[in-house]
Structures are given as C-alpha cells and as structure tokens.
C-alpha cells in the first residue's frame, strides 16, 4: 500500500521532502560504496592502462601505457607464420564451439551418443593442444601469469569438485539416526571456526618433509610394512619408497593445498548446506522408492541428487567465484607462492606485483581486471548451462 495515500497533505513540496528523506536513509551506505567500491573500481580500470611504479606513489609517476599491460599479460610471441597462428586460433574456437553444441544437446542425446561426443571432444581438444605445442610453440610474454592462471584453475577445480563430493557424502553420513552424530557434527565443523592463518601454520608444520608428522607417520608405516615382509621371509628393506616433499616439491605443493582444503572444509558450511537440503527432502519419496524396489544407488541417483541440485548449483557458483579469486592466504602463509611459482594463484600474483615484487599498481590492476573477466565468464557459463540441470 502506498504510504502517500494515508497522508492528508499531499502537495508537491511534501512529496519532494518525502523523497529527499528517503534518500537520506541510503546515503551513508551509498557514499561508502561510492568511495570504497565504485571509485576504486574506476581507478583500477584506469590504472590497468597505466604504469605506476615506485613506493612514493606520486601522481606524476603515472605513465599511460595503452593496452601494453594487457598485451604483456596475455600476449605471446611465436616463430610460426601468421597463417599458422590464425589456423590455431580458428581450431581452438572450433573446439569451443563444438563443446558448446555438445553441452547444449547433452540431455537430448542417448547415453552412447553422449560418450561418443565426449570422446570426440576430448580428442579434438588434445589435437588442438598438440598443434599449439608443436607448430606454434607460443612464448608467453609473462609466463608467470599463465602459470598463476593454471594454478588457480587446478586448485579451484579440485577444491570445488572434491568439496561437493565429500561434503555431500559427509552430510549423508551425518544425517543418519545415530546417537553420536551430534558430536561428530561439532568435530567436523571445528576447522571452520578456527583462525585460518593458525590452521595454515599448523599444516605447514604437518607437511614438513623431515620433521613433519605426516612424513614421519608414512615412514613409520613403510618400516612396519618392511618389518612384516622381513618377518615373512622377504628381503629386508624391500620397500624403498620415500615420502614426498609436499610443500617443497613442484609437483606436490598443489596436491598438498588441495588435501588441506578438503580437511578444512569437509564438515564446514558446504556440509551444513547439504545437511539442510537433505533434511528438506520429503521422506515419502524414499518410502515410495523402496516400495518400488529401488536400491540404495538408485535412491541416491533418482531422489537425493536431484533434490539437492539447487544446493549443488549454489555451491558450484560460489565455489568457482571464490576459488578462482582465492588462494592468497595459503600461498602467503605456507609457501610464498613457491616452489618455482607452483602455488602462485592469480590472487597472489596480483598482490605480489602490487605490493612486494615490482610494486607496479598499473600492471596489478590490469591483472585484476583479467581475473574479473574470467570470473564473470565462468559465472555466466555456470548460470547458463548449470541452471537447466537444477530441479527445483
């Protein structure tokens, strides 16, 4: 009901005053958002086309660079001919277009066609990758940025994927009618309420190659196995496997981060969201399925999974957004982006460029906008193709 209808006085001035006082309500927040969000975003966009180096931050030190920052971030040089590059771009675009077609038709196709399409798609992708690696051989002008993109992608994919699987499994376990489940819910939730920095420091200690508990336990297990083998008459010291260097190894630092992330979030907010979703599924559905003779897997596939799909979709969207722009804290506390940049996420790359390494605010801003564009694109893709799989 419009509030004006109740007022006996309704002159033009009164209405204007009314509007003005309404605006006053939003003003404090609006000014804050303008100063601390809109202004920085605009400044960031402008800075993305500039170079601004130096610790004194004098305005006179800003140099207009045009698109040079973006060219350096995303550009590459190659010995191949222009035609080969154009062909490579066309091939890549073709694969993406094919992927779009496959995703669109996916639910309309029978299962064998789906598998065939996926196989064709994978082969095409592998072919294009091989073409780029063998023929064009691009030399990125900032390989660290590409590495950071790759690291972010790997960490995000494994993080979100693992989280969805583990948290759903955990929620289903914790939704059972067992007395001790309440205690378990508290235990699994503990890491979520602890200071994240404290936990990263803890895990860095656990991951230490020589003195860390993880490697010491692995070694103890190896030696115990060797002892058993020896006792059974096998050769002494048969297993010579050495535990990994975890955070110190280029190949193992990312898996270490992913494992820690799973431990951290196994019983956290995602699990609680799933728990709430599971508790919202009507029990009659399961009863009906049981009467129809559905086994456990069928009940999960046909009832649980579709019924929690809105939650899954929400977790996927938020996980992609946060996963791709995150990773600074772990990298800063545990590895400082190393070894050899293998844990440098885009986030860490940006702050490293802005505040630690060469302190170029312009280059960092450009990288931040590239990140923004990628997140936006990923979110739109998720939104476009994810929503149709969600059953409300």
């Amino acid at each position: 009901m419009p509030s004006g209808a109740m007022r006996p006085v309704s002159s033009k001035t009164a209405r204007r005053i009314d509007k003005l006082t309404s605006v006053l309500f939003v003003l404090p927040n609006l000014i804050g958002v303008l100063v601390f969000v809109v202004l920085p975003v605009t400044a960031s966009l402008v800075l993305g086309f500039c170079r601004w180096q130096g610790s004194r931050l004098e305005l006179s030190a800003i140099d207009w660079m045009g698109l040079a920052n973006f060219a350096k971030l995303l550009g590459f040089t190659t010995d191949a001919s222009a035609a080969a590059v154009v062909a490579g771009v066309a091939l890549a675009a073709g694969v993406i277009a094919a992927a779009v077609v496959v995703v669109r038709r996916w639910s309309a196709w029978p299962r064998p066609v789906r598998w065939a399409a996926a196989a064709v798609l994978l082969t095409m992708g592998w072919g294009v990758r091989t073409y780029w690696a063998a023929v064009i051989r691009p030399q990125a002008s900032d390989p660290l940025f590409w590495q950071a993109l790759w690291n972010s992608l790997v960490l995000m994919t494994w993080g979100v994927g693992g989280r969805i699987v583990m948290c759903l499994a955990m929620a289903m376990l914790l939704n059972q009618r067992l007395r001790e489940v309440v205690v378990h819910r508290t235990i699994y939730f503990l890491p979520t309420v602890c200071s994240a920095i404290a936990l990263y420091i803890l895990w860095q200690a656990l991951y230490q190659p020589d003195v860390g508990v993880i490697n010491r336990s692995l070694l103890a297990m190896r030696d115990a196995l060797n002892a058993v083998i020896g006792a059974l008459g096998g050769p002494a010291g048969w297993i010579t496997w050495q535990p990994p260097n975890w955070l110190g190894g280029i190949g193992t630092a990312k898996p270490a981060f992913i494992l820690m992330g799973w431990w951290h979030q196994m019983g956290g907010l995602t699990m609680l969201l799933y728990l709430a979703a599971l508790q919202g599924i009507p029990e009659q559905l399961y009863e009906a399925a049981e009467i129809d003779g559905a086994n456990a897997w069928q009940r999960f596939r046909e009832i649980t999974w579709p019924m929690v799909s809105p939650t899954t979709f929400f977790i996927l969207i938020m996980g992609v957004i946060h996963g791709f722009q995150g990773g600074f804290q772990q990298a800063y506390v545990m590895t400082r982006g190393g070894p050899a940049g293998s844990t440098t996420t885009v986030d860490y790359f940006i702050y490293n460029r802005a505040f630690f390494q060469d302190q170029d605010m312009g280059y960092a801003s450009a990288a931040a906008w590239v990140l923004f564009a990628i997140i936006l694109a990923l979110t739109l893709i998720n939104w476009r193709y994810g929503q149709r799989r969600v059953h409300y």
């Binding site: 009901m1 419009p2 009314d18 509007k19 309404s22 605006v23 309500f25 939003v26 404090p28 927040n29 609006l30 804050g32 958002v33 601390f36 969000v37 809109v38 920085p40 975003v41 400044a43 960031s44 931050l57 376990l173 914790l174 059972q176 009618r177 067992l178 489940v181 309440v182 235990i187 699994y188 503990l190 890491p191 309420v193 200071s195 994240a196 920095i197 404290a198 420091i201 803890l202 200690a205 656990l206 003195v211 508990v213 010491r216 609680l272 399961y286 929400f314 722009q325 600074f328 804290q329 800063y332 702050y351 802005a354 505040f355 605010m361 960092a364 801003s365 931040a368 990140l371 923004f372």
Partner: protein
C-alpha cells in the same frame, strides 16, 4: 531453509549399516582431530623436548627426585668482536673424577644437591682477576649438563664493582650438555637458539660491556621447586615465550576494536539503506539496487590496490581508519537485510504511520525490533569476517602495534619459522577464544549460517 542440529533422517539403519557408518565417521573424526591434538601436544613441549624427542606427543614429566645432579664445564667469555676467551676449564685435580662427565678438557664442576638434606646449593667460581686480560666482554658462557629435573639455576656475576644478577632463573629441564649464555647487554634472543640468561646490574644502571679483568666471582645457586611447579613451567614454556615475544594482547585489542567498529557500522548503514531499498520510494531505487548487486561480483583484488593508494594519499595508511572504513559499507549486508525487511508485514508499519511516526521512528521502533534474527546473523557474520580478515589488514598496516590478530600471527611465523612449539603455542593463543565462543554458542552459529548461506 533451516537446519536442525539434533534432527536426523527418520529411517532406521540396520546393524551392519550402522556399524559401517559409525566406523567411517570415527575414522573421519580421528583424522579431523589428530592435527589439533598434535598442535596442542607440540605447544606443550619446551625447546629441549623439541630437540631431544621430536616424536614425543604426550607432555614430558620432569624427574620426580628432589635432587639436582648437574655439571658445569668450560667457562668462557666473548669479546665484542666475537672472540672466545677461555676462563676456566675446571681441570683441577679435585674436579677430575670418573663420575664427573666433561664437555671439554679433563674435569667438570659438579652441582649436586639433595634437597631433602639441604635447602639450596651455592657454588662460587672464583676467578684470579690479575691473570685475566684487560678487555671488555659482552657475554659469559658455560656448558651445563642438566638432568631433566627442571630445578632452577640462578646466576650472579661480580664484576666492575657491581653485581650482575640474572633477570630470570634458568630451568635446567634438559638432559645432556647445553651452552648457556649470560648477556650483560640487553638482548632478546640468541640467534643460535642457545640458553640465554639476561644479566641486570645491581644497583640498577646501564649495562654494556664489562671489563673482564674486574670479574672476580661467578655465583651459581641451585634452587629446589616442587614437582608440579616444574612440570607447569615446562609445559607453559612455549606459551610464555610466545606471549613475551609478540604483543598478542595488543593484537587482541586491535582485532576486537576493529571488528566491533566494522560490525556496528556495517549493520547500521546496511539496515538504513536496506530499509530505503525495501520500503521507501525514491527515484532510481531499483537501478541503484541492481548496481549494488553488481558490486558483489567484483573480486577484492580489483578494489584493494586502488584502495591502498587512496589510504596512502589520505594519509590513513597504518591507522585504525584504514582498517575500519573500507570494510564499513557492504552491498552484501544491504542485500541480505533488504530481503528480510521485505518479509516484514506492512500492517505494523502502516499502523505506526497512522499514529504519526516518521520514517526514522518506524525504522527504529518497528522494522529493527522485528528483524532481530537477521540483524544478529548479519552482525555475527560481519564480525567473523572482520575477525578473520587477512589481505586488507596485511596491506593497510605496517607497524607492530597496528597489527590485528591474523597479521600478528603471520608476523610471528616470519620470526620463528621453524620453532614449531612456539608457532603452535601462538596459534593456540589466537585460536582458543574463538573456539570457546563457538562451542558455547553452537546452535546460534549454525542457524545463522543457514539464514545467510542460501536465499531461496
């Protein structure tokens, strides 16, 4: 959408299924708790236990005997240019006995005392002053062989006409030989991790270098302590050291102040704006709301760099203003509260208006009281986010006294990167209060999470 902490699926499990679920849950819970257990156990270890027993989990108990059986050897002094001068090797005939283990040379000085017979043991080491070179020294050092008992050793040095007394007693809770360094100059740490005794002049005054030729006597006093006090001292060693080496109290106050200010400000401005977006009519309302929603998409990386520059230009860098103001205005809080305000029935509002309430009064007396759960949720989450914030405080502050808890902990880690007992103790100092708050308000937390986590 709401979660019920004490509700389960209605269907019952059969025995095998229940056993399986229980086993999986138990394994999971153990793997969740083991890192925490290791954290607590490590924080309860002191430096010597870390070195001598790296695999030990349970806290170590000092030996129960009311006796100390220690040995001292190789007394030396260090000049300002790091030259070691040997003062005494305890090589005299009466120190050379087979039951006296030596570190260097042939004999050692025994500090053996049975506290059931004797209250304390005082051993004076007399130096022949005339034989010592006339040079300034910064440190006296000797090797000490402890027996794991953890009784106290008090050091006093007579030199330059003053008495230099140890600021703190040394606790020989270790087994085996350790080098003990007695500093005349005020220094906090020994870079090599040796035992350090800080000597203070008596009567008080500036202590600097002390002329070696004037040092005539070194007193070593062994004092007894009850078992519980020795155990307590050993278990709390890491906590005390961590607390002393960084101003965690200040970090707590900073975190508390910043988080409270941010929470209060954000709830207030968000509630005002949310009311305007939900109920009031003004030109451009919906467009502005869409713009608000759009700002939630922007990654922090985009805004942090220019905001940092802004803080520098305004001269707010490294102040509370830099910590609080940029976090004060949130589109998310506005969005969340607007959704809630929309569900508040309009009748009450209309009634208040007919009774002559202005907008502000309606907001204060009708909307806010009806939205307590949403306000509490927003407050909780703003507080938690602010309490745990890392990136912005890291870049916005520099000096030690401006750091908030996570930044302080990170700085602590930079300082003691491999002393895990100290790192774990500091982490626990930071973690435990939040953990306690959670354990006592569990249901409130989980309910709030549900309210904010998903909006359908």
């Amino acid at each position: 959408m709401q979660i019920r902490w004490r509700r389960y699926r209605r269907g019952r499990l059969n025995l095998t299924q229940a056993a399986l679920v229980r086993a999986v849950l138990l394994v999971g819970a153990v793997s969740m708790l083991v890192p925490f257990a290791w954290m607590v156990c490590t924080a309860l270890k002191d430096k010597h236990t870390m070195e001598s027993e790296p695999d030990r989990w349970l806290p170590k108990m000092p030996s129960a005997a009311p006796a100390a059986n220690w040995f001292v050897d190789y007394l030396s002094a260090t000049t300002p240019d790091f030259q070691d001068l040997l003062l005494r090797d305890f090589d005299e005939a009466d120190n050379r006995r087979p039951d006296r283990p030596t570190r260097q040379g042939q004999g050692s000085l025994a500090l053996s005392v049975d506290f059931t017979r004797q209250g304390q043991l005082t051993r004076s080491i007399e130096l022949r002053a005339s034989e010592l070179p006339d040079v300034p020294v910064s440190t006296l050092a000797f090797w000490l062989r402890g027996d794991g008992s953890g009784h106290r050793l008090r050091v006093a040095v007579h030199g330059d006409g003053f008495v230099y007394r140890a600021a703190e007693d040394l606790r020989a809770g270790f087994d085996g030989w350790k080098e003990v360094h007695c500093y005349f100059r005020p220094e906090q740490f020994d870079p090599l991790g040796r035992e350090v005794v800080q000597l203070r002049r008596d009567p008080p005054g500036d202590a600097g270098y002390v002329n070696l030729a004037t040092i005539c006597r070194i007193e070593l006093i062994v004092l007894p302590e009850p078992l519980w006090a020795r155990a307590w001292a050993q278990w709390t060693y890491s906590f005390r050291k961590a607390w002393q080496s960084m101003p965690f109290g200040r970090f707590y106050l900073n975190s508390l102040f910043v988080s409270l200010a941010v929470t209060l400000g954000q709830v207030l401005t968000s509630a005002l704006a949310a009311y305007a977006f939900a109920r009031l009519r003004w030109p451009g309302r919906n467009k502005f709301f869409l713009a608000y929603l759009a700002t939630m998409m922007i990654p922090a990386a985009v805004t942090i760099v220019p905001t940092f520059v802004l803080m520098k230009i305004l001269g707010w860098f490294d102040t509370y203003r830099a910590l609080i103001l940029p976090a004060l205005f949130s589109a998310y809080g506005t969005f969340m509260l607007r959704q809630f305000f929309l569900s508040v029935p309009t009748d009450l509002e209309d009634a208040a208006r007919i009774d002559g309430c202005g907008k502000l009064r309606v907001w204060l007396h009708v909307i806010l009281p009806l939205s307590k759960p949403a306000l509490a949720t927003l407050a909780t989450f703003t507080f938690l986010a602010s309490w745990g914030a890392f990136q912005w405080p890291l870049f916005a502050t520099q000096s030690l006294h401006m750091k908030v808890l996570p930044i302080g902990l990170s700085a602590f880690q930079d300082k003691f990167s491999v002393e895990y007992n100290l790192l774990m103790a500091a982490s626990l100092i930071v973690m435990v209060p939040t953990l306690l708050v959670f354990l006592f308000n569990q249901r409130f937390f989980t309910r709030g999470i549900q309210l904010s986590g998903m909006k359908e």
